[in-house]
Amino acid sequence: MRVLEPLIELVRGLWTTLRFMFEKPVTVQYPEQKKPVKARFRGRHVLHRYENGLEKCIGCSLCAAACPSDAIFVESSENTDEKRFSPGERYASTYEINMLRCIFCGFCEDACPTEAITLGDQYELSFTDRRQAIYPKEMLIEPVPSGGKPTPQKTEPGTFTRSVPVMKDPTD
């Protein structure tokens, strides 16, 4: 039956494709059905808060300095006990990330001394305008946790003197 080999090979090919017709499709129906991202996925940035509602970001601009594509712009202002946004002296009054420039490398995460900025799992970053690509602080910061108060807070003098919290055993 070796002479029939060309024919048998054709039939084998047809059988292979036919068999795959009865496999379950691998398609993910995207907008309705979303696959969870991996644990170390680097998506849109999130600015975090402490449990009491104060912002972790202290406006030090280290993330902006670390950013290889110069996507981050930070402008800091002084905290007072009357109007306190974050522990310590200063807070970020303006915090903007240009999503068109960002390469999602995660250097800002590494540079941050207070773990204020992390790359989250949000990846739906479409916009119709270059202006919309610049994400201001209001879009990046996470909502006030339950039990916390929104910033600016009025605080007791002398309680939040330290910008960087004391970390005993820093996790990654």
């Binding site: 054709l10 090919g13 017709m21 379950k24 499709p25 129906q29």
Partner: protein, 379 residues
């Protein structure tokens, strides 16, 4: 010829054209769905439930697209070529019978547009005209790729038309007539696919080449010719060329179903039951639709499986394998028909499939030997 007859013809013609045009639209969806399933995808499912509105969305898109005409194109031919391609694809089905005669209120309705007594010849001639549209489309575009695509498809279609025509001859010999309705009624006892298995295979291969489908879609080989003869076409003119291609698929499947798979006749296991077309004639169109559906799936399946074959091999296959084999088949068929007539024993007709299968095996083995020899030469 009464007025009623003229009206009947007009109605049947309009219905047939409408069926072909909507059939084209849904064939594209069918193909996309089937291809998707073979590739473990789900295919279009956004427009309407299961994507059944997708063809309409495609049509709307194509209608509103800009129509481009190359500056140095032959304006008239560029405009006419899609029409010249589409019209043969539509009129070719005129001789295909869709069912037996219906008797409604004492009036007999025939389910074909025309019962030409040389129906098969009509099919061959109309199929040849379709080449003109493609070569004119390629030539009038004033584009080298389009020109090459047009020329290739002409050469390919002419080459495979010979094998196609010769595979028709086997059927004509068996049926004793070139009329499509008589070919169908001659298959009452056995479909011609049983008597002419190799002829059927040759027909199916040749039709793939004839309608420029994968793996013989040489005129549209993207890697070499961008899009072949329709490179310069856009908008509705492109849609017409596209429509012609898919309507040709439907037409050629209906012809294949008629010639080899019993036409509108019931499947063999349903004969002598209430579902036979002799008892319930209106089932005829449903049976032929099912057969066309299966044959179209075959075309899609082949497209999903085989890569495009090289152009010189395509020509070599057509001229050196299919043509001699189909000539041999005609000889075998004629011999056995003559023997059966002389011995007055119709059982001798069953010698045709046996001997033709042997001839087919011989052809395959010769192909195998040639391929082996080429491998050794390369090594």
């Amino acid at each position: 010829m009464t007025l009623a007859l003229v009206i009947e013809w007009i109605i049947k013609a309009i219905v047939l054209v409408l069926v072909l045009l909507t059939g084209f639209a849904y064939l594209t969806l069918y193909e996309r769905k089937a291809l998707a399933r073979i590739q473990m995808r789900v295919g279009p499912n956004r427009a309407g439930p299961w994507g059944i509105l997708q063809p309409i969305a495609d049509a709307v898109k194509l209608i509103f697209k800009e129509e481009l005409m190359p500056a140095r194109a032959d304006k008239l031919l560029f405009f006419l070529a899609p029409i010249v391609t589409l019209v043969p694809a539509l009129v070719i089905t005129a001789v295909v019978p869709w069912g037996p005669n219906l008797h409604v209120f004492g009036y007999t309705i025939t389910l074909y547009i025309a019962d030409v007594n040389v129906g098969v010849l009509y099919i061959m001639s109309v199929a040849s005209i379709a080449v003109y549209g493609i070569v004119l489309a390629g030539w009038s575009s004033n584009n080298k790729y389009a020109m090459m695509g047009g020329l290739r498809s002409t050469a390919q279609m002419i080459s495979y038309e010979i094998a196609l025509g010769l595979s028709f001859v086997g059927v004509i010999l068996l049926a004793g007539s070139a009329s499509m309705t008589e070919i169908v009624s001659a298959q009452k006892s056995a479909w011609f696919v049983l008597l002419q298995p190799v002829g059927t295979v040759i027909f199916l291969i040749a039709t793939l080449a004839e309608v420029n489908r994968a793996p013989f879609d040489m005129p549209e080989a993207e890697q070499e010719l961008t899009a072949g003869y329709h490179t310069e076409y856009s908008g509705m003119k492109f849609a017409l060329l596209f429509m012609a291609e898919y309507d040709k698929m439907i037409a050629i499947s209906s012809i294949g179903a008629t010639l080899y798979f019993g036409g509108y006749r019931e499947f063999w296991f349903l004969s002598n039951t209430i579902l036979s077309v002799d008892r319930t004639p209106w089932l005829g169109p449903i049976y032929i639709f099912l057969k066309i559906f299966i044959l179209l799936f075959g075309m899609i399946w082949v497209r999903a499986t085989f890569p495009r074959i090289r152009y010189d091999r395509l020509m070599a296959f057509g001229w050196k394998v299919l043509l001699p084999l189909s000539l041999a088949l005609i000889f075998i068929t004629a011999t056995f028909i003559l023997l059966a007539q002389q011995a007055n024993n119709t059982l001798l007709l069953w010698g045709i499939p046996v001997v033709s299968l042997l001839a087919g095996v011989l052809a395959v083995s010769l192909v195998y030997r040639t391929l082996r020899r080429k491998e050794y030469a390369r090594a």
